[in-house]
């Protein structure tokens, strides 16, 4: 398996007044193509910061982020925009669907930014929402909305899926459903999936577990035999 993501001595500082906060403190790691990665850590540890830097939503203070051989930290705004469009599928805690567009339109929206022919209905069916295509987000439950957001993210066939607490707003049963879906994406479609979560249990299902504390990597574990999500004891 080839390395697809590499963090080299990544630092991220936030200045507030004359106080400097190190949200990312000399972070180094690599992720291989198709890996199912779980990032664990207490609140405020810097998990979201890590995802945002990787996803091109924010820029590093120093260090290198290399994705597919490209130096993301050196991109300007326009390059970042097209990097996000081509490589990154984001999934957030609060779904962030476009309320004015139907489910199907939310998915097919991606046609406007990437040169991929998207069959929205097919993608929706793959997340089990084929019969909700013409409903608006407000008419769906939280779990359904999150599935639309996954459909939207995978529709453009990104290099990686970045999921920031994707089950945070869902009940545990629905949460399992979502996580299952994400693991399938990784296993069957060879998409790299990175999930941020509080839930330490999920570690058993990951190919790689990265634990973060105070902006630093506490440890990193590689699971030779990850369990299926279904097999976990919730």
């Amino acid at each position: 398996m080839s390395t697809i993501i590499e963090f080299k001595n990544v630092n991220k500082e936030y200045k507030s007044g004359n106080h400097i906060l190190k949200a990312m403190d000399d972070v180094n790691f690599t992720i291989d193509e198709g890996e199912f990665v779980v990032i664990l850590g207490p609140s405020g540890a810097g998990k979201s910061t890590l995802l945002n830097l990787l996803g091109g939503l924010d820029s590093v203070t120093s260090g290198e982020i290399i994705v597919n051989g490209e130096h993301v930290e050196s991109f300007d705004d326009n390059q970042l925009t097209s990097y996000r469009a081509r490589n990154v599928g984001f999934i957030f805690q609060f779904y962030n669907l476009i309320p004015n567009l139907t489910t199907l339109e939310n998915v097919e929206l991606m046609k406007d930014i990437v040169d991929v022919d998207i069959n929205g209905l097919e993608v929706l069916e793959s997340v089990g929402l084929g019969n909700h295509a013409n409903q608006f987000p407000a008419q769906l439950s939280g779990g359904e909305q999150q599935r639309v957001s996954i459909a939207r993210a995978v529709a453009k066939q990104p290099t990686m899926l970045l999921c920031d607490e994707p089950t945070g707003a869902l009940d545990s049963k629905t949460g399992v459903l979502i996580l299952n879906l994400l693991q399938d994406m990784s296993n069957n479609k060879n998409t790299t999936v990175i999930i941020v979560t509080h839930n330490a249990l999920l570690a058993e299902a990951a190919d790689k577990v990265i634990r973060i504390k105070n902006g630093q990597i506490e440890n990193m574990i590689i699971n030779e035999n990850p369990k299926k999500i279904d097999e976990l004891e919730w």
Binding site: L57, D77, T81, A85, N96, N100, D112, I113, F136, A138
Partner: protein, 756 residues
């Protein structure tokens, strides 16, 4: 505590609340400013009229003997009367100014208003009381001598006093379009100052009880044939012109504030609805903690209340202080009043109370939805508005529309009030601009029509009243000109009576009447033509008959109308000299017109008016017009900026999260900017298109209120529409650019952090 919350909320929505404040301020500012100005004029003029005991009417007659006077007295309604001998004289100055002399019997009616010197003394046969404006222009002081020439008399008197007269608030003259104090004036003297023993009185000033119409009727019944005409106060040229000016201002005071006040309420409504939707949960918590509905409702109602209250109080104070100062100077050049003081009126307070009450109502309407909900429901976030698919989405074409169009269509559907507000704002802006440029176009059109299509002479020589026919003929031949006769007439129908002008032409192509489409028309030798405006006013057409007489003559004539002409500046009848004489009237030439450029004054010619003079006085007349045009453009722009900025801000904060999401997904800032720009432009286009007919309507209203003597069909020129479009769209795009910047700087991570 709640007060603190209010301050923070207001601060967070500062743009909206500043707009509410400014709009409420401007509405009241403009209303009280212009009202204070025109009510001030009304009060100042009526005080002036009262103090000087302005006549209720004037009876013109050559037979003002004791017999006549006692007849007038026995009409019963007459309460006061007094004779005057009023004549035009020529001042002994290089430019031969026209001075109207009043030899008065007593001066208890239409009294001379003294500014300096000693009061008018009826026993003083050596003194003259002179028009102060004229005296100032000529640098004359009390104690100086002044000489008037009238017929064969040369009258030299000592200036005993300077002042004003209620009959000369506006001093018009055939010599100048505008009242030029250097060329025109008036003077009062005792009857004892008249060079002959017996004074040939020609005007009787009267005060009477009852309505002028009644008075005119009994006068006509008892004394018909013994007097030439009777003018009631409201028809007096000075009084009439001044009250027309006031009407014009009153109309402005009514139209503009309405626009601002409507916008105030719209912004207030949308802002409060938004705040309350956002704070639903907070409200639920407050309620759950035992706050009374009333307390909460009052809390939210107070937001708009304070701002509207402070804004309108400020407008109320500043309006009458500032706006009249802007208007009075240009008016002082045309009108003469002893006092120019703006006035505070009770109606200002009513308006304020009304606005504040209405704003409370609007806030209440916005709050009422939430205060009726159970806390347990209110505490949960309100489910987002569900979009629905309408028939448009069912159309085949929908699928092929770009994301931009689809998104904007749905966004508009979900935010109808916001859309409506923008459209109304843009509509108001473009209507005001159309009105402003339309006024300008109209002024130019009038000038081109009058001096390009109708009048082709270069100089107009005004003939001295005393000049003989042979003298006139001599000059006419010398300058290769033609004589014309101009006079004032009264036209009467069963219900309407109007003063107009008579123009008698002598087969000339220096004056070529036109119809209302500005096409030249021929008025044959035996034809009578009435101006379009009067044809409409009297509701007559070709073949109908009108009854008229020359002012100063009691010979009434019935004429059949053969033609209808149109003239932007003068309304009345046109005919040939043959026709005039056929009707039994004398043709007395009053001017000679010629295509040569001459400038002469002598025994025959009183003064010469050249096109240059007319050009100059035209510019002066247009000055007030320009002021109005600037004010209109200024307010139109403010209106558009505020409305569009508000809409932009409101929609931006509402969709900030969506924009951030789209950015995260990889949409380019450029495309997202286009998203907002599209919406903005579509609304601007709609508002602009709707604004055009509204603007034309405002324009028509403005021309209609500009007086009986003006005739203009307001036309909408391409330039007008283009200029309006340029300004409206520029404002729209500039305001939009302010938000484009925000899209680029938008912090995706921040915007997506949790919900509010």
């Amino acid at each position: 505590m709640l007060a603190k919350k209010m301050m923070r909320d207001i601060f967070r929505h500062k743009a909206q609340f500043i707009s509410i404040f400014i709009m409420a301020f401007l509405g009241v500012f403009v209303f009280t400013g212009i009202s204070g100005e025109y009510i001030g004029l009304e009060v100042d003029s009526s005080n002036f009229y009262e103090e000087t005991n302005l006549a209720d009417g004037w009876i013109y007659s050559p037979y003002l003997n004791d017999m006549f006077l006692s007849q007038v007295w026995y009409l019963g309604a007459t309460t006061e009367m007094e004779r005057q001998m009023v004549v035009n004289s020529e001042g002994d100055f290089e430019n031969e100014p026209e001075i109207t002399l009043h030899f008065v019997e007593n001066n208890t009616i239409s009294k001379f208003y003294l500014i300096e010197g000693k009061p008018l003394d009826i026993n003083d046969s050596n003194g003259v009381w002179l028009d102060k404006k004229f005296a100032d222009a000529k640098n004359l002081k009390v104690g100086d001598k002044i000489t008037f020439k009238y017929e064969n008399y040369t009258i030299e008197k000592e200036i005993k006093g300077l002042g004003y007269s209620p009959e000369y608030v506006y001093h018009s003259s055939p010599v100048a379009i505008n009242s030029d104090p250097d060329k025109i004036g008036f003077a009062y003297m005792s009857y004892k100052a008249f060079p002959e023993d017996s004074v040939p009185y020609n005007v009787l000033n009267v005060k009477f009880d009852g309505t002028p119409d009644n008075y005119a009727k009994i006068l006509d019944y008892r004394l018909k044939g013994y007097y030439n005409s009777f003018i009631e106060q409201s028809d007096h040229p000075s009084v009439n012109r001044f009250s027309q000016e006031i009407t014009k201002h009153k109309m402005m005071a009514d139209i503009f504030p309405a626009v601002f006040i409507i916008i105030t309420f719209l912004i207030l409504l949308t802002t409060m609805t938004r705040i309350i939707a956002q704070q639903r949960t907070q409200i639920g918590i407050l309620k759950a903690n035992g706050f009374k509905n009333k307390t909460i409702t009052l809390h939210y109602m107070s937001y708009g209340f304070w701002l509207v209250l402070v804004g309108s109080i400020l407008g109320f104070i500043l309006g009458p202080m500032i706006l009249p100062r802007l208007f009075y100077p240009s008016m002082m050049r045309t009108f003469v009043l002893p006092s120019w003081a703006p006035v505070w009126d009770m109606s200002f307070v009513y308006l304020m109370v009304l606005i504040v009450a209405f704003s409370l109502g609007v806030s209440y309407y916005a709050v009422s939805s939430i205060s009726n909900e159970k806390p347990s429901i209110a505490i949960k976030p309100k489910p987002p508005k569900v979009s629905t698919s309408g028939f448009v989405e069912k159309l085949k074409i929908w699928k092929r529309l770009s994301f931009n169009l689809r998104w904007n269509y749905r966004d508009t559907k979900r935010n109808k009030i916001r859309a409506l507000m923008t459209i109304i704002g843009v509509m108001g802006c473009s209507a005001l601009l159309i009105g402003a440029f339309g006024l300008y176009d109209g002024m130019n059109e009038m000038r081109d029509w009058e001096y390009g299509q109708i009048n082709h002479y270069d100089s107009k020589l005004i003939i001295n009243e005393g000049a003989s026919v042979s003298q006139v003929n001599e000059v006419t031949n010398e300058v290769n000109g033609k004589t014309i006769m101009e006079g004032t007439i009264e036209i009467q129908s069963d219900s309407v009576k109007k003063t107009g002008s008579l123009l008698v032409l002598n087969d000339t192509n220096l004056i070529t009447p036109t119809d209302k489409d500005k096409n030249r028309i021929e008025i044959a030798n035996d034809e009578v033509s009435i101006s379009q405006k009067y044809a409409d006013l009297f509701d007559v057409g070709v073949g109908d008959t009108v009854k008229w007489h020359i002012r100063g003559s009691d010979k009434w004539i019935n004429s059949t109308i053969n033609k209808i002409h149109a003239d932007p500046l003068s309304q009345g009848l046109i005919m040939s000299s043959d026709k005039l004489e056929n009707l039994g009237l004398n043709y007395t030439a009053t001017s000679i017109i010629t295509s040569e450029h001459v400038n002469r004054t002598d025994d025959t010619i009183k003064t010469t008016i050249t096109l240059d003079d007319i050009e100059k006085s035209w510019e002066e007349t247009s000055e007030t017009m320009w002021l109005i045009i600037y004010v209109l453009i200024f307010f139109a722009s403010i209106l558009a900026i505020i409305v569009l900025y508000n809409l932009g801000l409101m929609s931006f904060t509402e969709i900030e999260r969506e924009i951030a999401t789209l950015k995260v997904l990889g949409f380019k800032s450029k495309d997202l900017r286009r998203l907002l720009l599209t919406q903005n432009l579509v609304f601007t286009v709609i508002g602009f298109i709707l604004g055009i007919p509204l603007g034309s309507y405002i324009l028509t209203m403005m021309w209609q209120s500009s007086g009986d003597s003006l005739y203009m069909i307001p036309s909408l020129t391409i330039t007008n529409v283009i200029l309006t479009a340029i300004i409206t769209f520029s404002i729209s795009i500039i305001v939009n650019l302010m938000f484009s910047g925000k899209i680029k700087k938008l912090d995706m991570v921040e915007s997506l952090k949790g919900t509010e």
